[in-house]
Amino acid sequence: MDIDFSPEDMAFQQEVRTWFKAHTPSDLKRKTVTGEMLQKNDIVQWQRRLDGQGWLVTGWPKEHGGPGWTPTQRYIFDLERAAASAPVGLSMGVIMLGPVLIAFGTPEQKAQYLPRIRRCEDWWCQGYSEPGAGSDLASLKTTAVADGSDYIINGSKIWTTYAHWATHMFCLVRTANTGKKQEGISFLLIEMDRSGIDVKPIVSIDGEHHLNQVFLTDVRVPRKNLVGREGQGWDIAKYLLTHERTSIAGVADCKAHLANLYAAAGERRSGGQPLMEDAAMRLKLARAEIELMALEHTNFRVLAATASGKAPGPESSLLKTMGTAVQQTLAELGVEIAAEQAWPWHDGGEFGSGRHAHAMPHYCFSRAATIYGGSDEVQKNVLAKMLLAGGTR
């Protein structure tokens, strides 16, 4: 047993650290530290910069442009990226669609889409949830009916992050109503400029517009936009849920966030003294840091297992519940440290900038972390099933 990085890994860490230090734009740093929402152009420019370095599609195999890193190297990369206050800036295309196309796409689909994702020429959004299909995703009702060489799509997708920026959507649709409801689901690619698509904004409780509802009315797409086989959509979605196991915990960003909180508590004052000298605040930060250590080392264990080729298991559910708990605790601490400096609404004039300006919206949106991507309750159902089947490992 060995908890240290290898000398090669440490050399790699140094290389990555040096690069981020030199190349992270200061406005992106500021936005990352304060929690200000990134705009589309911020993300696109940043992704292109990472791609120029060969560091964008870190989870893709080498033949498709990935750097060929080990899971440990990918973790180190993420750690250094977050420590440099550089944004994740990863899009749905890079994290989600790329791996799906690589595993399930036709050679034509790979050739058509993968290079464009890497160069950020396309912006992909994810069309999974529907008004009636949240935790019970398999009950989704958006239909794709074959018509000659096309599908005709009708229905509505909701909570679609950045659909208003998107050029394309990958979508779960129902192609059959027979058998188990999971079996009638297919994975389909839709260009957002097709007629019959209407994107309606949803403002969330942080006061920002990230989310949308997408209405699809008689939208026609060619059948070649199907990924995998008809009815394979559920398996593809499940594959994706366990794919990004090492980043689901959000360890790297939590560490960066915690460092920011310590800095903020050093700056804020209470009764004229630094807030860090307040015993209760110190203990609270200590408790959060210890929780983060537990998360980090659980993540390490999963990482080590993945590196040695163990099959994906329910660890992603465990890492998600543990990770989101830490993320939400840190966000909450941000509001508490800021006290009245967290009050001003985000465009609050002279109060609209500075370290604490986004503490409140950040906390508000952090509450979504236990809702999206399978709610906390759903993750615990998965874990309970595993436990009761005797699979405690």
Binding site: S129, G132, A133, G134, S135, D136, S139, I158, W159, I202, V203, S204, I205, G207, L211, R268, R269, S270, G271, G272, L275, D278, A280, M281, K284, E332, V335, E336, A339, E340, Q341, A342, W343, P344, W345, G348, G349, E350, F351, M360, P361, Y363, C364, F365, R367, A368, T370, I371, Y372, S375, D376, E377, K380
Partner: protein, 380 residues
């Protein structure tokens, strides 16, 4: 022992609920929040007509002659309706300051307008480096030729952009965190040298920072005894906390009811999600949180005028700390159980969530009041 409301208290509560349900619906409230001023002076004057703004004031001052038990009836209804008008600020903190410390002339000048809803007075007691420490006052008031000259900056002043006047805590002697030497001053908002940097708050209300640059005031601006007002300030903040706790209780009760309704109708896996035990137990935890909060609001209100200040403050800090924890829990779980729709600005759930989040750090955080309770207990 008797926890029944008096007939008068019941009437107050019922009338407040009835009026706000009819006249302060969520959509109407959002229009008020989005308006240029951010508050409805029309509603505010109605509150005055109903007697809500003078509930805790003596009849001699045009008030209702009640106390915190009356005030919490209205405050709870205001919280349940997400009311943004400055009830806590003006009708409790501001009005009580003037009523308790004011001379006959000061009371006659300020209170009629406060009671009728013509005027709004806010309490400007905190500073950026003070956090929750009421004795940490940098702002200075110097006596100069029979006048007072105030200089300094107050932060987190509730309702600041709406206020016609401020009760400002300033230091007339002593060093920055000394208990003695703190005085209160009545400052008209339009006095030369007074500047308000206002902003919209995440709960839809307004607040601001108050910049005081050599503000010259007459001798009649001093409110209460020179250098001896910290005790009064502590009492005022305690009263404000009781009202804030009742407001939070109203918001928590509304969330419990709305969440219960939602999980009973929202179907997933072909059944209402309320049929899942994890949801049922969560709802019960929320219910227990609301009930404990109600008990503590009553306890704090019953101790609000206790002759022993430490006993009073202990009761108030206990309520604030415990209700703070519960407000956080109820707010978070209401969003969680609503799922995606709970995250939307369109639904009222998120607005309650933000109101309760701000409550947790209002007039002293949960931790601050835990520490205060523990300290007072050690003394007692």
């Amino acid at each position: 022992m008797n926890f029944d409301l008096s007939e008068e208290q019941k009437m107050l509560r019922d009338a407040a609920q009835k009026f706000l349900r009819a006249e302060y619906r969520f959509d109407a409230r959002n229009q008020i929040v989005a308006s240029a001023s951010g508050m409805s002076h029309e509603h505010w004057q109605r509150f005055g007509e109903f007697g809500w703004l003078g509930l805790g004031l003596p009849e001699a001052d045009g008030g209702f002659g009640g106390g915190m038990l009356e005030t919490i009836q209205v405050a709870e209804a205001l919280g349940a309706a997400l009311v943004v008008e400055p009830y806590l600020v003006s009708a409790v903190l501001g009005a009580q300051a003037v009523a308790r410390a004011g001379t006959a002339a000061q009371r006659a000048t300020w209170l009629p307008g406060l009671v009728s809803g013509q005027r709004i007075v806010s309490l400007a007691h905190t500073e950026a480096d003070a956090r929750h420490d009421l004795a940490h006052v940098h702002t200075s008031a110097m006596a100069k030729g029979g006048r007072w000259v105030l200089s300094g900056r107050k932060s987190g002043v509730l309702g600041a952009p709406w206020a016609d006047g401020f009760v400002v805590a300033a230091r007339t002697s002593g060093t920055v965190s000394e208990r003695r030497g703190i005085s209160l001053f009545l400052v008209e908002a339009h006095t030369p040298g007074v500047q308000v940097a206002g902003y919209k708050v995440y709960d839809g209300s307004r607040a601001g920072d108050l910049q005081l640059d050599a503000v010259v005031l007459g001798p009649d601006a001093l409110l209460g005894m020179e250098g001896e007002s910290l005790g009064l300030l502590e009492h005022l903040v305690d009263l404000g906390i009781v009202a804030a706790c009742a407001d939070a209780l109203g918001a928590m009760g509304a969330l419990l009811r709305k969440t219960g309704e939602y999980v009973s109708t929202r179907k997933q896996f072909d059944v209402p999600i309320a049929s899942f035990q994890v949801i049922q137990h969560r709802l019960v935890d929320m219910f227990a949180a609301v009930e404990a909060s109600r008990s503590l609001v009553l306890m704090a209100a019953l101790h609000a005028e206790h002759p022993d200040a430490a006993t009073r403050s202990r009761a108030v800090s206990a309520a604030k700390a415990a209700i703070g924890e519960r407000a956080r829990f109820v707010a978070q779980q209401a969003v969680q159980l609503h799922g995606g729709v709970g995250m939307t600005e369109e639904l009222d759930i998120g607005h309650y969530f933000r109101r309760l989040t701000l409550f947790c750090n209002l007039l002293g955080s949960t931790d601050h009041h835990l520490q205060r309770f523990a300290t007072l207990r050690a003394v007692a």
